[in-house]
Each structure stands twice: as C-alpha cells, then as structure tokens.
C-alpha cells in the first residue's frame, strides 16, 4: 500500500510552523533557535479546558492542527497516534513532590493530566473526533515507533495523524533525562493519493547493520535532532521541504529499524485509481 504525507506541522524554537520551517530546512533561510519562538495554541478547547491543558498537550494540539490544515482534512474520522518518549515530566515532577511532602495531597487536575495519553484526550475534546487514538513510547526511538504504528494504522479510508512531541525536563529530572528543547511534529498520512505532488512513503521494518543516522548539515539543527526524540523527524521534514527523494533509516538499540523511502509523484504520473 502506498502511503502519502498529505501535510505536516512542526513547532520548536526557531521553527514556529511548517511554512517557516520549510524555508529553513530547504536551505533558503538560516536557522536561529532564538527566532520565531511561539507559544503553542490550544485551539478548539473551551476556556476551562484550555486552562487545564498542559503545555505538552498544547504542543501536540498545535502541530496536529497545522498538519490537518495543510492536508485540508476535517479531524473527524482521522485516527491519531501520539508518540512521546517521556510524556510530561513537569507534571511527574509536581506529583512526586506532592507525594514526598506531608500532608500528601495530589491535585486532581495534575493527576489526570499525568497520564501518557493526556494529549490524546485533549485532542479528542478539542476536535470532537471519536476516531481511534493511541499514545505510545519507545524512549529515544519514539518517533520511529510512532511512525510505524501510524503506517500500520493507515488503511484505505482510514487516514492517520501522527503527532510526536517531547519537552525538556524540569531541573529535578534534568540530571537523568536530557531533552534540550521542546519539539513537536505532526504528519498527516493517507492511502489516498493527494492532488498535486504526492509525497509517497514506502517502508519496511528490518535489520540494519550498521546504523547510520541521517545527519543535518546545520549544526544547531543537528543538535536539536539528537537533543529531542521527536526531532529525529527532522531529516524527513528536510526532504519534504526540499522535495528531495531520500531513504531514511531509524535504527533502534537492538539492530532493527524502520526503513522509509520518500519519493515524489507529479500530478498524473501514477494514479493507482486509473492504473490498467
């Protein structure tokens, strides 16, 4: 089955949205982490829900909306896969502090926001979509694991939105978890060939020895790529931005990996619906 990227979104320091990121990743503009720092939006939530919505979920909502808009999709019926290596460590920190300090009392909101699928829950509330949604982690391999889950979720008539995000830990957890900057990315994936240029993914999972990561030439972007598990998506975003066919490999610690080839189909070149 051919799978197409119908749209994408991104939010990180210096990459305030997909349009700005496209120019930077295609090499038309320089990357500066201090440019275009933007607070993520909690579009679609009521004032009450928005007040409760943690920053991690806002990142997820923001990039997810960007990707759907780029794809021109209504969120209803779009399955979602949310992948985060470490979830919301700010909330874990606050809860563990509360549990260490008598009299012990947890905040009900912090507790329900502490579940790994909090962002997925807010996505449903914000969009009204009852489509299947899952939330997962594979530590530093979380982007590839999320992509694999999304690729196996896509079916004819079942588009899927992958959202991957991670945020830096608070000071108390910084010695044990290095995430250098926030990064969130979303890919709108579909089996239906979009109109215009189709960014097509073909993929397989298999052995990969030795693992060689795709590196980014720009050193600040390369630091971001290795400094946040969700930013392992940057080589793919760069190729999408430059419309450059490329083969990717996201290897895991055990010698397996997700192999993805990105190619571009011009309008009318291959239309599976009209194939003889």
């Amino acid at each position: 089955m051919n799978i197409y990227v119908a749209g994408w979104g991104v939010l990180a320091p210096g990459l305030p949205d997909a349009a700005a990121a496209r120019a930077i990743l295609a090499g038309e503009q320089a990357y500066r982490a201090t440019d275009g720092v933007r607070t993520p939006l909690a579009e679609g939530l009521s004032a009450n829900e928005a007040r409760r919505c943690p920053l991690s979920a806002r990142y997820a909502l923001d990039v997810g909306r960007q990707a759907l808009r780029a794809a021109g999709w209504d969120p209803a019926g779009v399955a979602t896969v949310l992948s985060s290596a470490s979830g919301d460590l700010e909330i874990a920190d606050k809860n563990c502090r509360a549990l260490a300090q008598p009299p012990i009392a947890l905040s009900p909101i912090l507790f329900h926001n502490s579940v790994h699928n909090a962002a997925g829950g807010y996505w449903g509330i914000a969009t009204g979509s009852r489509a299947p949604t899952t939330s997962l982690s594979a530590y530093d391999d979380s982007f590839a694991a999320g992509l694999l889950e999304a690729l196996t979720t896509v079916a004819p008539d079942q588009p899927c939105l992958l959202i991957a995000y991670d945020l830096p830990p608070p000071a108390a957890l910084a010695p044990v978890r290095k995430i250098i900057a926030p990064f969130a990315v979303a890919l709108a994936l579909t089996a239906d060939r979009p109109s215009g240029v189709g960014a097509r993914l073909s993929w397989r999972w298999g052995r990969c020895n030795p693992v060689t990561d795709a590196r980014l030439g720009e050193s600040a972007l390369e630091e971001l790529r290795v400094g946040n598990p969700a930013a392992r998506s940057l080589p793919l975003l760069r190729a999408l931005s430059a419309r450059q066919p490329e083969a990717f490999l996201w290897g895991d610690a055990d010698g397996g990996g997700l192999h993805v080839a990105l190619t571009f189909e011009e309008r009318g070149s291959t239309d599976p619906h009209h194939a003889p």
Binding site: L99, L106, G121
Partner: protein, 399 residues
C-alpha cells in the same frame, strides 16, 4: 485484523489472585475477594489488590538497572506458565527479529521516582542524582524495554500508555504489527504495579471505594487499585499450527471526545468501540456468550457501560466484572480481561461479580453475581480509560 483471527498460543497472568493461571482460575471460581485493607497517609481507608512476593524478586544481573516494582512484577509473570519458554520456541522457529513486543502500562516504574523524591539526598540536592535509572524504571517504555531484553526478542518494541485501556490497546497494536507483515509473532501484555501516584490520584478524584468495590451495584462507591502483569504470545493461526484454543478475532477503539476523566453520559465513545469490534469479529450481539466488563465500580463509569451494552443490543448477554476480586489493575486491566476470560472459556464457566449484592435497579445488563457453569465460545472484553480512551476486544474459543 487477519481473517479468522490471531492465535494466542500461550498466555499468563499474575494478579492478587496469585501467580499464574491455576491461581487465576481457582480465584475466579472461589468467588472470593483478594483485596486487602490499606490506609493512606491521611488515614483514609481503602482496599488494594496486591501481588505477594514482589519484594523477593531479583532481576538478572545484566538488567539490574531495571529493578523496580513494575519490572519485578513483569519478571514474575514472564517466568510463569512456561511463558518465557514459549517465546523462546517462537524466536527459534520464526526468528528473533520477527517477534515484536507491545506492552500496556499506565504508570510504569514511577514508584522508583516517588521513592527517590522522598530520600534526604533529593531534598539536599533538589534534583535526582545523575546515576538514578530513570530510563530503566520511571520512563513509560521501561517495561517494554525490560520485556524485550529479558526475552531476547529483536522485533519492534513499544509501550502503549492510554491509562486504563493500555493493555487492551496493546493487543490492537500487536495485531497491526502482524497484519502488516512486520512481525510473525508479538508478545503483548499489560503490567501495572501499585504506586502512590495512582492511589493518591484516584483519592484526589474521590474515586476510591471506602470498602470492597461493588461494580454495577446500586451501592457502588468507587474502585480499589490492584496490580497485575500478564502476557500473551500472539501469531497468525497458520504460524501457530493450532486449530484449537484462544483467538483474538477483532479489536475496536474510539475516543470519547468529551472529558478527561468522566465518561460520555450517553456512552457514545464506548458504543463506537464495541460496534467496531462486533463488526470486525462478525459477531451478532446475540451470538456473544459473555462480556468481561470494564466494571470499575464508580457511579458514572458503570452507568455509561450499562448504557453502552443496552444500546449495542448486548443487555441480555451474561456479563461480569472481576474488579471486586482483584481490583482495577489500570494499564493491565485489558490483559486481565483476556486471561481471565480465557480461563473461564477453558474451564467452561462464567465468572461472577465478587462483592456486588444486587444489580443497580436502573441498569439493564445481565450481570452475573456468582459464577455459573456454561460454555463461552465468543466473548468481549471492555476497557475504558482516562482521556476518553476506549478499547474493546473480541475473543473466540475453539474447543
């Protein structure tokens, strides 16, 4: 889902009933509650479903950094009912890289971080020490990583964490890995262990029962938190070479899109998950022999589940909840549902609902108060979690 379903060739469960399937079956048949009294720091009394003996479990030296209650519980279960050996045989016949791991958990090993925050060293430093094994304990992927390494499988590994539907959704994700051809077999499971985050969290939400939980009872007043670990080895029927036994025939999931903790009052999300499962399995509602309820024992969850069954034409199907006996095992609840239903299928009885005295008179479900003999060929396992995450599984027993 592959036509005809996926064969579950081996499964195991360790819960408050005890270690392994024989203990689960005996516990289910006994109609006894295994919950024990527990006091929170503010003297609030509640019940918990504890697994005995975790304090003595030792992890292999090479995996010593993974040591925490959650991974000890996982190891105890992996070493039971010949499960690890069955995975070893699958690895030899199918290849380690074709065997994947998908585990559901809600809190993983966060108890390790809770304890570290209480230590005087943390209070002095204001931070964890650099050698604290966050990745191997607290991190949500820890239990998936531990299981993969312990079993020496090399296929894709991930952890599904969608609160109380995690364990059920692990089956759905595992089925996708097989259907897509990535894996020929997948170790799926659910592991969740007692920790203060969930005990005090549910207390903060006023959802802990002050006595033994009574799912679907008019007097129900909340949940008891339990711990459990269970695993299932799943593969295509063809690869299993087995025409009998347990099959996963369909999975269905949905989002409530309503509220972070409260279920949709008209159970729209639950209905969508059940409907997708019935459709995927090709089950007419009247062909279902038994439903393992999510049946947590809270006022609103049970009401929504009862409504979902009625709306899906399942009100007449015998149903029960096992949470009055072993507690709500959160991310392991779906795995408990599969293993306990499978034991009932194998032994030819329908489990009862421990501690519940009478069905809420407003409900329409066919709730079994005590176990009764009878065959189960086709069953549903319901799970519904925070964030409005719903997942239903369809099981079939081939005698």
């Amino acid at each position: 889902m592959i036509k005809g379903g996926l064969a579950i060739t081996r499964y195991t469960l360790t819960s408050a009933f005890g270690r392994g399937l024989a203990a689960q079956r005996a516990g289910l048949m006994s109609g006894r509650s295994m919950l024990t009294a527990h006091n929170l720091a503010d003297e609030t009394a509640c019940m918990i479903g504890r697994v005995a003996g975790l304090e003595e479990v030792v992890l292999p030296a090479a995996l010593a950094r993974y040591d925490c209650r959650n991974n000890r519980l996982a190891r105890l279960a992996l070493d039971t009912d010949g499960f690890a050996q069955a995975v070893g045989a699958a690895v030899r016949s199918l290849g380690a890289e074709r065997v994947g791991v998908v585990i559901g958990t809600s809190t993983s090993g966060i108890a390790a971080t809770e304890a570290a925050y209480r230590a005087p060293a943390f209070k002095e430093r204001g931070a964890l020490a650099g050698d604290f094994p966050y990745r191997e304990t607290h991190n949500v992927f820890s239990c998936g990583d531990f299981v993969r390494r312990y079993l020496c499988v090399k296929g894709p590994a991930l952890v599904v964490s969608t609160a109380c539907s995690s364990g059920a959704k692990a089956f759905a994700a595992g089925a996708r890995l097989i259907a897509s051809g990535v894996c020929r077999a997948v170790v799926v499971g659910g592991v969740d262990s007692l920790c203060d985050t969930t005990l005090y969290g549910f207390h903060a939400l006023n959802l802990l029962s002050r006595a033994n939980p009574r799912p679907f009872d008019a007097d129900r007043d909340g949940i008891a938190i339990g711990e459990a670990a269970g695993f299932a080895l799943m593969m295509s029927a063809e690869d299993s070479g087995e025409s009998r036994g347990l099959r996963l025939v369909a999975t269905g999931d949905s989002a409530d899109a309503y509220h972070m903790t409260a279920p949709h009052p008209e159970a729209h999300g639950a209905c969508a998950a059940i409907e997708a499962t019935l459709k995927g399995a090709g089950f007419a509602p009247e062909a279902v022999d038994y439903i393992h309820l999510h049946g947590t024992g809270t006022v609103h969850n049970d009401a929504a589940e009862d409504m979902a069954l009625a709306r899906m034409g399942l009100a007449a199907v015998p149903a029960s909840s096992t949470k009055g006996a072993i507690g709500h095992t959160l991310g392991a609840a779906g795995m408990c549902g599969v293993a306990l239903t499978a034991e009932a299928m194998a032994a030819g009885f329908l489990p009862g609902t421990v501690a519940t005295r009478a069905l809420d008179p407003r409900f329409r479900s066919h709730l079994l108060l005590s176990a009764e003999p009878g065959p189960i060929r086709r069953a549903l396992v319901n799970t519904f979690g925070f964030g409005g995450s719903n997942c239903c599984l369809a099981l079939e027993w081939r005698p």
